[in-house]
């Protein structure tokens, strides 16, 4: 299989239901791999010094999944012998629930951690997903990183 085939067959999804990292393991683990690193992002009860009472995620689903596949291509360029899969949940989440899950399988463990951390860092930078946090005294769209246009200048107006 080519890298494009592997990415096309991979799991990169925006879902409106509870997600877990373990559900990704069958999609990344092969008999040749001995290591699986996962990352789960969960909803904290505090953020920006405030008590969080609720949280909702919104995505641009088609573009978010396309950006996840681009991240997978970046992962495979750096770690050719691995498999990565990613899920992001949207909608309302409770404290402690998983918002994002990534799994990376590799032959040996060092690369599984490296590739998994790279993938979540890139996902937080480029995948169009937004978070609205509710506090005791109101709610706000959390301002994060402004993604930049591919290659050249930043897309800021």
């Amino acid at each position: 299989m080519t890298t494009a085939d592997i990415i096309a067959a991979g799991v990169f999804r925006i879902l409106e239901r509870p997600i877990t990292a373990d559900e990704l393991i069958p999609h990344v683990l092969t008999d040749a791999y001995g290591a699986v690193a996962t990352f789960s992002g969960t909803v904290r009860n505090h953020a920006r010094g405030k008590h969080v009472t609720g949280l909702a995620y919104e995505a641009y689903p088609e573009m978010a999944e396309a950006e996840m596949r681009k991240i997978a291509a970046e992962v495979y360029a750096q770690w050719p012998d691995c498999r990565v899969a990613m899920l992001h949940r949207i909608g309302k989440l409770d404290i402690g629930e998983v918002s994002v899950a990534i799994a990376v399988a590799t032959p040996h463990r060092k690369e599984s951690f490296e590739a998994c951390e790279f993938a979540i860092n890139r996902l937080k930078e480029t995948v169009p997903i937004w978070k609205k946090e509710a506090y005791d005294d109101g709610e706000v769209w959390v301002e994060g990183v402004a993604p930049s246009a591919e290659g050249a200048s930043a897309g800021s107006a």
Binding site: E62, M63, A66, P128, I129, E150, A154, S156, A157
Partner: protein, 98 residues
């Protein structure tokens, strides 16, 4: 004046809330840029004041610069800063494209 054509605008987060819609079909004049379209919408919707500061753009689901000239049938979106999240305790996430 040249004929206008239509583009689809996908609206998310603050844009969806300010315009009260998750998508709209918009007529634009030839030569209109993505940034120009945003300026029009901001002028029409006071609730978007300041929304242009940190926004990024996509055209047909790919990040694009503000100067991108729209074509008939394009799907445009204004991308507020993505949710990000803290990389580490007390540390703001550093964006580094590779």
């Amino acid at each position: 004046m040249a004929e206008t054509f239509s583009v689809t605008v996908r609206l998310f987060a603050v844009f969806r809330e300010a315009l009260g819609a998750s998508a709209l079909t918009r007529e634009v004049a030839p030569g209109t840029t993505v940034g120009g379209l945003l300026a029009q919408l901001i002028a029409e919707h006071p609730g978007l004041d300041g929304a242009e500061k940190a926004v990024s753009f996509s055209v047909n689901r790919v990040y694009a610069s503000a100067e991108t000239v729209l074509q008939a049938g394009d799907e445009v979106a204004f991308i507020p800063p993505v949710s990000g999240g803290q990389l580490s305790h007390g540390e703001r996430q550093m964006s580094s494209r590779r």
